[in-house]
């Protein structure tokens, strides 16, 4: 998205004249001062609270710290990958149901899509964490976090895939039919692969959401990045620094995924499809 932003910025302002240039110069100077003051205030707050002390930061110079966080991150990634895979499979099925020719199947899929899109991930997690065991459904912690996260994403994936399929020009299917292809193979060999390509960026954005949702793993006691951060905190008695570093890791990973999605979107731009 941020790459496309340049267009509106370019036309919104005319090339500045001398007066405007002076005004922009003043605004730039003032805003730099304000931002520096703000940053200084943050650092000062850290200093006053004694949070800049080496005791809180030296642990990050240790290999073991990073190995431990890395292991947590691996746990996060395992959940994210599994949940994405399940969400994709479920989303694909829901999408097929949603566009099926049978009214009942359509209604059923639509309802499921609305339900998974309209309920918070946490509620699904509580379902698997608190309720499922009451019925004797004993899942390992991994699935207790993976399944609800996947279910939460499935509806969105279905809608994203459907928007991709809808964006494929009708002529494509018509051409395939005129070549004698059958309904099923027209869809899976011609229409779906093209539609899928259109929505790759949106699907990557959905992976970001899945990754964010995995942070609820602490609810079910699964050791992910967040959980391992907690362990580090109790070992080193360094809460603020560890949580800060953890948050930055999450932000960086998601930022990179977001950039990737923007980049792919820029490469195969299709009108009518926006990435979220």
């Amino acid at each position: 998205m941020s790459t496309a932003n340049s267009s509106i910025r370019d036309v919104l302002y005319e090339p500045p004249g001398p007066k405007t240039r002076r005004r922009i110069g003043i605004a730039t100077a003032v805003s730099i001062v304000v931002l520096v003051v703000l940053a200084a205030k943050v650092v000062r707050q850290f200093y006053i609270a004694g949070q800049l002390g080496p005791k809180y930061w030296s642990l990050f110079a240790r290999y073991t710290t990073w190995r431990f966080l890395g292991r947590g991150l691996a746990g996060t990634m395992e959940v994210a990958v599994a949940a994405s895979a399940v969400a994709f499979a479920a989303g694909l099925l829901l999408m097929l149901g949603r566009i099926s020719r049978y009214k009942i199947l359509r209604g059923f899929s639509t309802a499921l899509i609305e339900i998974t899109r309209g309920i918070p991930t946490l509620l699904f997690i509580y379902f698997f964490f608190l309720l499922a065991p009451q019925f004797g459904l004993k899942l390992p912690a991994f699935w207790k976090i993976t399944l609800p996260v996947a279910i939460s994403a499935a509806g969105v994936v279905a809608e994203v895939l459907r928007s991709g399929v809808n964006a494929v020009p009708k002529g494509q299917a018509e051409a395939a039919v005129s070549l004698g292809m059958r309904g099923g193979s027209v869809f899976f060999k011609i229409v779906f692969p093209q539609g899928f390509r259109y929505v790759v960026p949106a699907l990557i954005s959905e992976i970001v959401i899945v990754l964010k949702d995995t942070t609820f793993a602490y609810v079910v006691n699964y050791s992910d990045l967040m959980q391992n951060a907690k362990v580090l905190i109790s070992n080193y008695d360094a809460l603020l620094s560890v949580y800060l570093v953890t948050a930055v890791i999450y932000i960086l990973i998601n930022y990179l995924l977001h950039k990737l999605s923007v980049r792919i979107a820029g490469r195969n731009r299709i009108p009518g499809i926006t990435i979220e």
Binding site: E14, P15, P16, G17, P18, K19, T20
Partner: protein
Amino acid sequence: MAQEQKRADAARQVPVIELRHIDKYFGSLHVLKDVNLSVQRGEVVVIIGPSGSGKSTLCRTINRLETIDAGEIIIDGAVMPEEGKMLAKLRSEIGMVFQSFNLFEHKSILDNVTIAPRDVLRVPRKEAQEEAMRLLERVGVADQAHKVPAQLSGGQKQRVAIARSLAMHPKAILFDEPTSALDPEMIGEVLDVMTELAGEGMTMVIVTHEMNFARRVADRVIFMDGGSILEENTPQEFFSAPRSQRARDFLNSLGDRER
């Protein structure tokens, strides 16, 4: 009476549009080379030339939609500044009709015509609407007043764009290839409106490829190539006996297509 005549004569001597020594670069490309142009009140000036000759850029330069690197633009005696309220005011005195219409897509046809008078000139709403309806009537799209641009044909849109310009009571209107984006069958309806305007004494600067139209309505033809004005001439002379070799080549290259 005599005095009034005198004043009118004096006014006639101040050109509505005057460009002095305009230079413009796109990076290292010299797109306007020391261009001088003056347009008198009531004059219809048609700018023609091959694509890439700088004619569109010149047209857009007149109301400073393009920046210039050197020179002066003078609108009815007032120098057009680089920025600020005066720039906006002088722009409001010069209408502009674009190749791609550029109607405000979220507003009804009527609102497209009234928005600038109301917000820029502070004309009361009712007055602006009555005037807008008169103008839409005049360009033949009054029955579309309550639709939005997307519901109109290209020709209709361009006529609305002309009405939108007229609503500001401009001293001159610039037309930047007004028919180039139109289907052939719609070109006529737009040119008819423009011909009518010319007949009513509107000052116009027109960039176009429509040679028949140019011959018919132009008081003066300007031929541009390579960022320079190579020839200023009457349409009769220009089309029958162009002075410059490049103009001759250009007219020949049009061949029978434009005659």
